[in-house]
């Protein structure tokens, strides 16, 4: 795999940490959840006759990508964030992984554009015009940098895997500031050209039919099956590049929104899901490869401590605990900022 990105990430990471004149950092953990884009649901329909699936076990490679980000501290100038990405693939009954990071960035209002644009330029050889005008806010930076890393990993995977199934975390929605349509199209096209099918699993969705979330529809059918949807229109410039399904791949209560590259013929899309069932473990309707990618990139509390230890040692920062105003004001009734 091309390790140019990690090097750039590392260089920028160290540069951002070293350049800043931070006197103290404050501890404040926060996990960022990617916002779900607003969608127009007037024309949205779901086919209630399920597409029943039969697992096809043909030894095809299954690969997945996921990234995690976390704000690990606040400084008097900005935030210190950490990003990590993981690629997991299953071949010959074995799972293997490549984990990139963690990369730690000190992002301030002064350097956020510089950091983000430098990373984007390094990996996609261009800067998204939209970004240049609408630079992300400081709070959005963890998600944006993580998405950048994720998109690069996805792009690399579509260029290296052949005749495989590539699993993304989230949807195939493009046209957002961090996922330009042309880049997502290019990624999907690269995948198709090498015989791959991209499947994107969303853990959360706001798509509803008659007021009911599509993943909560109850059908008296035995899984595995897919429910096909039609007519999803997004607010421009956002666009979905996937055919949207509800995937209930195993017994239990879980079902997921599944976007499959709509450049792939309908039959091949269903075959791809059947191949996924035959070539990967599926538990709670979620593929193991993607679950491992998520697990491997997630930051544990131990790692957060280690990263704080790293920035303290590397940059000579003194860690202080910022008083929790909720606790301070409301005593035992103050549940902390995470509850606010």
């Amino acid at each position: 795999m091309d390790t140019l990105l990690p090097k750039q990430f590392a260089d920028l990471s160290l540069h951002s940490l070293m350049q800043s004149h931070i006197h103290s950092i404050q501890l404040n953990e926060q996990v960022f959840q990617q916002p779900i884009p607003e969608e127009h649901l007037e024309s949205f329909r779901i086919e209630l006759e399920p597409i029943l699936l039969k697992p096809i076990c043909d030894g095809k490679i299954v690969a997945a990508v996921d990234t995690s980000t976390m704000k690990i501290a606040e400084t008097n100038a900005g935030i210190v964030l950490a990003v990590r990405g993981a690629t997991v693939w299953k071949q010959n009954e074995n799972y293997r992984y490549t984990r990139l990071g963690p990369f730690i960035f000190h992002v301030t209002d002064d350097n956020k554009n510089e950091v983000y644009n430098a990373l984007e330029r390094s990996y996609f050889s261009s800067i998204n015009g939209q970004n240049r005008q609408n630079s992300p806010s400081l709070l959005q930076m963890p998600t944006r940098i993580a998405t950048l890393l994720e998109r690069w990993q996805q792009s690399m995977l579509t260029k290296t895997i052949q005749n495989g199934l590539i699993l993304f975390d989230g949807s195939l929605t493009a046209g957002t500031p961090d996922t330009p349509t042309h880049r997502m199209k290019e990624t999907l096209s690269n995948g198709r050209n090498r015989g791959n099918v991209v499947l994107a699993f969303s853990k959360m969705t706001n798509l509803r039919v008659h007021g009911c979330l599509i993943t909560e529809l109850k059908l008296e059918r035995r899984p595995p099956y897919l429910l096909e949807t039609t007519g999803l229109r997004l607010k421009p410039p956002m666009v979905t590049l996937g055919a949207v399904y509800v995937a209930k791949l195993s017994k239990g209560n879980c079902a997921f929104r599944l976007d499959i590259d709509n450049g792939v013929p309908s039959e091949s899309r269903v075959k791809a899901v059947e191949r996924l069932l035959g070539n990967d473990l599926v538990s709670q309707s979620y593929p193991e490869t993607l679950r491992l990618a998520h697990i491997l990139c997630t930051f544990t509390a131990n790692e957060v401590l280690a990263m704080r230890h790293f920035i303290t040692r590397k940059c000579g920062l003194q860690i202080i605990n910022r008083p929790d105003m909720h606790k301070l004001l409301f005593g035992p009734f103050g549940k902390g900022e995470s509850y606010s």
């Binding site: 590392a10 992984y97 990369f103 697990i295 509390a301 131990n302 280690a306 990263m307 230890h309 040692r313």
Partner: protein, 486 residues
């Protein structure tokens, strides 16, 4: 290292992987503001409770229990920091003393500053110096983990009750020999009840040549070079043998007194005369039978003789040992249980007589597996009465539950070798001079030949040392069936 918690006299200290601290080590927690420090001993090393460690371990094993194979691209090199945090340990330490102006007090009532205190390892030589564990009569027990010598003062064994215990083949006899040799070299009188003939070569070096103590070691083997004539015995000692070793009933004892009185008046205190008088003695037939059976026991043990020339005078050996120091090894190997008890009754009785008469100042008694020959009432005697007469006992055993609890309570020094059995550790931890946690935690992990020294000899600072090697001929080795084949 960072001070984490203090509960009672237990300190919890956070230690990082680059700080190598083990069980038994001493730490000095210095509070610069208070200008004093705590001396604490590490009694357990645990993993620190680091949040997220379980998740960390679980995710490395998701592939059906096999380690998932992969590559970590970690250009910032965060991984060493992760393992650094993950491998942090929590040291459970027992506070032993407070040090203030180089003076020690056994106090743990103050709380050092968590943020300002500095924690460092306290080298054993510094501890020994602070605790003033030295003296004019040094006995080097061995070397501590930091390669310094653990030297105690012989006078700290003087007048004390000591226990050497540990499981088999951990080095108990080795330490006893070391203590005996050292005491002998300081001209002390040492009496050893040698159950397996292990101490008979104390005067020989490992190559079979005579060592410096050769002339001071007196090996007495009952029935061989150690016999006693009835004339040399006092009635008190012989009655002790008859009652306690041979279980003669009270009525028969009274009759024996009369027989003894008559024989003494006629100056006929011999075994032959005793054997002739008992069958014709005017008393109840049962009493006569009881007396006659005890007479035969005395004859058959071979320890008693009518030949004065053949009889060895224990007192002479004691006097000799008193003058230049010496060890009297009572070789009880190949001696039956009853005969062993007879000999021990005689020796203890004789020692008491000698000490009471002032012919001997004091003696150090080493008793190996004493439960095999010491009668019930002697246990309490040893810690009370005999101690005042000048018999300072060291018990050596691999079965700690055979020593009475009162002995543990009164013990001044305990030399503890490895034990893994919970029950054994329970018994030893009843000793008054030691806390149960220290015994349980440290003794369990002691390697062979390593001894945890507790009590007055180390001024109540438990110290682990590897017992030093001795150039003494090894005896008492187990006879093995497969030895030649191996």
């Amino acid at each position: 290292m960072k001070l984490y918690r203090k509960e009672g006299n237990i300190l919890q200290i956070l230690s990082f992987p680059n700080e190598t601290v083990e069980k038994g080590d001493y730490l000095l927690v210095e509070d610069p503001e208070a200008n004093k420090g705590l001396i604490a001993q590490v009694i357990d090393v645990q993993f620190a409770t680091i949040p997220g460690v379980l998740e960390e371990l679980l995710r490395s094993l998701p592939d059906g229990g096999e380690l998932i194979q992969g590559e970590d691209v970690d250009p910032l090199e965060i991984a060493p920091h992760i393992t650094y945090i993950q491998d942090a340990s929590l040291l459970i330490c027992k506070i032993r003393a407070t040090v203030e102006n180089e003076t020690l007090t056994p106090s743990s009532s103050w709380l050092p500053s968590r943020s300002q205190s500095t924690i460092k390892k306290l080298p054993v030589p510094t501890l020994l110096k602070l605790a003033k564990i030295n003296g004019k009569l040094p006995i080097t027990l061995g070397s501590t983990k930091d390669s310094s010598l653990l030297t105690v003062d012989a006078s700290s064994i003087d007048g004390r009750l000591n226990i050497i215990t540990g499981k088999k083949e951990t080095g108990k006899s080795h330490l006893s020999k070391l203590l005996m040799s050292s005491l002998v070299s300081y001209r002390a009188t040492v009496v050893i009840f040698d159950l397996n003939g292990e101490y008979v070569s104390l005067g020989m070096s490992s190559d079979g040549k005579r060592n410096i103590n050769y002339d001071k070691i007196h090996v007495l083997t009952p029935s061989q070079n150690f016999k006693v004539a009835l004339k040399q015995l006092s009635l008190r000692i012989l009655l002790g043998i008859l009652v306690h070793a041979l279980h003669l009933p009270g009525t028969s004892t009274r009759e024996f007194r009369r027989i003894w009185k008559e024989l003494r008046e006629k100056d006929k205190l011999t075994l032959r005369e005793l054997g002739e008088i008992i069958p014709n003695w005017n008393c109840n037939q049962h009493v006569r039978d009881a007396l006659f059976s005890r007479y035969h026991a005395l004859v058959n043990c071979g320890f008693f003789t009518d030949n004065i020339g053949e009889a060895a005078l224990l007192e002479e050996v004691i006097v000799k040992a008193k003058e230049q120091g010496g060890a009297i090894v009572i070789n009880l190997k190949n001696t039956s249980t009853i005969d062993r008890q007879i000999v021990v009754e005689y020796i203890l009785g004789k020692l008491l007589d000698t000490l009471t008469a002032g012919r001997l100042k004091a003696t150090f008694l080493f008793a190996e597996e004493a439960h095999l020959y010491l009668r019930e009432t002697y246990w309490d005697d040893i810690v009370t009465r005999m101690r005042h007469y000048g018999i300072f006992t060291t018990f050596i055993t691999n079965q700690p539950d055979t020593i009475k609890e009162s002995i543990y309570r009164q013990a001044d020094n305990i030399f503890l070798f490895n034990f893994t059995n919970e029950h054994d550790l329970d018994v030893v931890s009843r000793a008054a001079r030691v806390d149960a946690e220290t015994v349980r935690s440290i003794a369990r992990d002691l390697p062979p030949h390593h001894c945890l020294t507790l009590g007055k000899v180390v001024h109540d600072f438990p110290i682990v040392a590897r017992v030093k090697a001795l150039d003494i001929k090894t005896m008492g080795e187990t006879r093995l069936f497969f030895a030649e084949m191996n």
